[in-house]
Subunit: 215 residues, 8 copies
């Protein structure tokens, strides 16, 4: 009866960022804006850090929905970028699905705006085609908590796993010894409390508290 443990694997995971557009972001009210911005950029940074295949898509960029936020575009200059001509569910867009399948990965790390549509629809579609879906809940936003809770219910009924960017990073990294400095930089840049721990620690050790940028 239990769902067996499927661990995220850096060789089998891809990241899908759906409709993080400047206009649509004004709809997101289940997060404080500073917090949400940080979460989205943290997810982008971890995708880059772990060198995961990443796919960007948008809906109607030249209308009121607005353009993809520039930081994401800059972060992934070579990633497949699929501006959808009209499909609301990204999975209804052939190019998007092709790009996903081209990665050869079966674990999809998914985030977007708004949660019950731009995340839930492709999540349900991908599961139906045999993919494992890991929703990055804190990099996905929507109108309010009721909507979020309802969408979480629908996605988990279908078998999606709810995660956060921090959990994703930790499950991918597995062992600090792979790269202490790199993971610490990721955390320091996106978790103020962790940054403060590093700052205090570094002072006592006489080392530099400002972490390197994530490449």
């Amino acid at each position: 009866m239990n769902k067996p443990y499927s661990r995220l694997d850096r060789d089998n995971a891809a990241v899908l960022l759906v409709d993080h557009q400047a206009g649509l972001l004004s709809l997101v009210r289940d997060f404080n804006p500073d917090q949400f911005k940080n979460n989205v950029l943290a997810l982008a940074d971890l995708a880059a850090y772990f060198k995961l295949p990443t796919i960007l898509t948008t809906s109607f960029e030249d209308g009121p929905n607005g353009p993809l936020v520039p930081e994401l575009k800059e972060k992934f200059p070579k990633a497949p970028f699929i501006p959808r001509p009209g499909q609301i569910n990204a999975w209804d867009n052939e190019d998007f699905v092709k790009a996903v399948k081209a990665t050869g990965r079966k674990q999809l790390i998914l985030a977007g705006v708004v949660t019950e549509v731009c995340v839930a629809f492709p999540a349900l579609s991908a599961i139906a085609e045999g993919f494992e879906v890991f929703v990055v809940t804190d990099a996905s936003g929507t109108f309010n908590e009721i909507t979020r809770d309802a969408s979480w219910s629908r996605m988990t009924q279908a078998g999606a796993q709810l995660m956060t960017w921090f959990g994703v990073a930790c499950e991918l990294h597995r062992d600090w010894r792979r790269d202490v400095e790199g993971l610490a930089a990721l955390f320091s840049n996106h978790i103020p409390d962790y940054r403060n721990l590093i700052t205090s620690y570094s002072l006592m050790k006489g080392t530099n508290p400002l972490p390197k940028a994530v490449p």
Copy 2:
């Protein structure tokens, strides 16, 4: 173990509005009143926009429960309207079930007041008879959050899917290209943040920001 993805289909869905009565609405305290009024009218507008068969029912209209809110009656002048003589579960009323079955639809989009009774009871009954039930959580209201959470638990145990009016609209529409203006009007009339995006966009494009009314 996962629930397979059942997508809402405009040719297979019907809308059931249960007991949105002027008296009963004073019991609804899990939503801000402005928000709840907007959600109910948005659901009505989308039912009309997608031309979904819609069924109205009430409980004891001439008693303290009060009449159906007039906007719903006006919106659906030709819809089956079943004032129940006493049955608390609408599904216990033969006329109501007949009306549902007469639509020939198997996907029931359901909302009502109060959630744990007027929504949950017919939801459970309909599922027991083989229908798929999609609860419009934000057009269904009740006494408080505890009651809502408990009723969500009971309905999802039985297999109901929790949605919101916005998710329903997007899943039914599927592709903006079917009718950009119509969907934008629906959103503009019921999502202030989206309306503002359209207003700003229209100003720059020199077009009219005020969307057409939903027919």
Copy 3:
């Protein structure tokens, strides 16, 4: 995969009130005290109104846990009352289980203080013995929301259904025509908003707004 709809049936249901003791009630902080007192008394009133077999039990009445609240004792002068000598899970007490089985009922409507112990333990035990368990969430209280949420999770995993006193009353009554006045009195005494609807309605009809007492 779905849980089939099991409706509460007035000929097959019994009510179990576990440890609503004056001392233990000071531990309940997931409800406003006025609200919780009202919910517990409403559940007692509905048990009496529907003439459901009702069983009372307490833990260590003569110690700090304090006595059963007097209103419950007075409400059910002839009900089995099992002060447990030490068992924390009421189902570990033979007399309690005997009393439950003596009712011949298979649907157990259960409430108590505190939720994760006095409700969850007998709920899990009763389900294990083939009973259906309906938890009256709003007449069951505990330390805080986290504890409540965790206990709800454990009970629903095991198959318990989460309800509220209002939902229980409506599912048992089924049709207003059985007894309009009696159900209205129950609601008027325990739902201030409903009482106000009746008051306004009665004024216009020239009838008496103060409902009869529940017998």
Copy 4:
């Protein structure tokens, strides 16, 4: 030591609407969007209903701040409309102050976006010039509750009075007998609970529950 009671007077009051612009509204997060939209339109409707001199102003309409929301412009086609070329405090704009003084009114009913700037700055300036300022708190929005609370503190230190649109309407109207239908229409259009009361009442009286539009 007490502030003497200064009652709003329909012959001495003017309404100032500051920077309710489509872009700036996306910054408002101390209100639910449906609620805030309703409050702003309610204030506009009451200004029209009481025929109060009303002044509109905006900041940088053709930049990211966006245009004045169209409903306000349509509501007050003949009102002074001062698009400020750069002044953040509307009171720093001579045309705005002239327009205010031209009304001859000494009681200023003030609302705007965002509260701590577009409301607080002109409020403080107007008080300094001897006006009485009544802040319509629920038609003024800002980033979060902390900001709102801080701005309320600063404005009340200076002598501003904090009100809401409903309180303003009631203090201006003073006696229902002046125009029962008109005030009821205002409330029915902007207070869902009040609308429901009217709907139920009208049903029993056999009158029309849908209020006339506010002129």
Copy 5:
């Protein structure tokens, strides 16, 4: 600069209950309904217990606002009851002011629905005429917390003192020895936690935990 301590005095205080009407109560959303009902009845009980002159008034009883809640009418069968023909501010009604002045009391204990209108307006008017005003904040309700906070600010600027029914009772009673049983009954009937303390205590002492009714 400090406001000197003015203590409530049972020989100098009167209670004003403004517009606790069945319809208007559906507007109150800054309290849980069970809690608010209890607070209003507690204030009524204390007014009776301390034999304070009490004045009742309503606005448009035969319209949507609905009748005074019956419990209040029954509690004070001989109290002046002034159904106002249209004045929104009760102090604008001559009969009401006459009734207040006829008590000869200078300390007015005031509660009503809704706070920013039915409480704040007469509070400001009474202070302007030299009365001391003590607002019973928890027996006064309104649309939401923002409205409540704004109205509290306006009333305290004018010199009103914010209290609760419990504080009023304690300040009037001054010394338990005047009547232990009577005050305990008042608290036991309206504070569940206090009732539980008395119940546990009584069990150990072998006395009756159920307090006498308030006369």
Copy 6:
């Protein structure tokens, strides 16, 4: 117009602990119980640490209100302890006032249960007699936030200053150099986050992280 800065002075301050009784504590619901217990004990520890004259008083210890919590009695074995025979306002008890005056201190640091009665009444009385009153808000508890806010308003109108135990400790200590270890022990025992800082710091320095007990 501004209130001049009156700093707490260890040679001019006394601590008054009013009615922290085992029964009354069950009424306190504006704090998490763990948090409130910690705050009260922190205040007791700081009173002892700074050797401030401390006065204890209770109301009806042998009734339902219950005894003074044993930790306070043990902490101040020689402090004046005034069990009041009936006066609700401790300042109405001559022995209490005498004890206060016997300290020769003019700055009263005051905390108690419940805030709007046991704290507010003596606060207002003491100010009226020329004392300065500093309310330790986080060691004073009551029924809910509304009651707390109202009582804060009444006390600040009268000139009381609102503080917390941490602010009191810092203002009394003035300079860490007086006794680093002692103050650190106080903070470490009552502020988990501060304790953790000390623990991490100590590990790196090789010193003992467990602070000495407060004498």
Copy 7:
């Protein structure tokens, strides 16, 4: 379909405390710090009281994560303590798994910081190897409620049971008669409301209210 009732058994349960380190604790923001500290120490006390095999582990103690909180180390001087050299999932550390298996227990009571990583990862791994996992939700902390909710979802999908320290203690103890004094001491030390009940009760009985220390 239901999960069968697996009761915690003191002869089959072990306690795993993962990464309660002084630095990491500053990340925990889904609990009030006083409450969280109390919960963790309560879990430690119950592990000791029930003499459950207990295993401690940490991640990078000599870096910013900081040392294990000293109270835990002192409480379990002989327990296996596994400072992990780098593995994020404790179950990836062979020594840790060996220590768990060496207990011979199949029921794992698990708590840690942060929930979605240090608790969820070993929970999922242990379940995959056939252990039963009971998560002590209130002794496990993380960044915020969203993260907590997401991690609870993932763990329960896999079959973990969510509990609290109080529920664990009660399920292990089963019958007060085993040791009334010992369990009462545990509750008195960690539940202020329960301590107050005991204090009041003891006063009346003339016994000592201060419970013995937990060994």
Copy 8:
């Protein structure tokens, strides 16, 4: 009676940043950490942008309080930096007061950690010496909301004005035309919603949405 309007003036204002240290920041729990970090850096950026004299001070940098956060030190390499040897109130440190007076400014913009001590104490001291104090509430943090509210009350009683970094920036800038690009960069870097407005606007205008760095 009203406080006259004192506008912030870029030629008369200085910024005081008190104890924003890596250790102390772990105590701040009245803000989300992402939000608080952003607010502090926004205040630093505006101080630099408006070229206001800025003074930094810390308490016990080499102990558990930890070092000043590195970003602040880097931002103001030439600013007076006063590590206090022990004084808790920065105003008790002669060097700090000298540095403040050396600026020649009379308007002090003040922020720090924790609010009721590191902000309130120097605020009260500075006011006592004739300075005007403007507290940047959202760049000042403390343990919880109760502490914050109490400290706000004490500071406003003394005449401090409560502001936020955004209000400070707007009041100092006064007119967008002084430097549109500079102010927009400040807002874009620290207000995600504003950044999104600029991004969408820029796309349509064909300009660069990424604002220049603040010097």
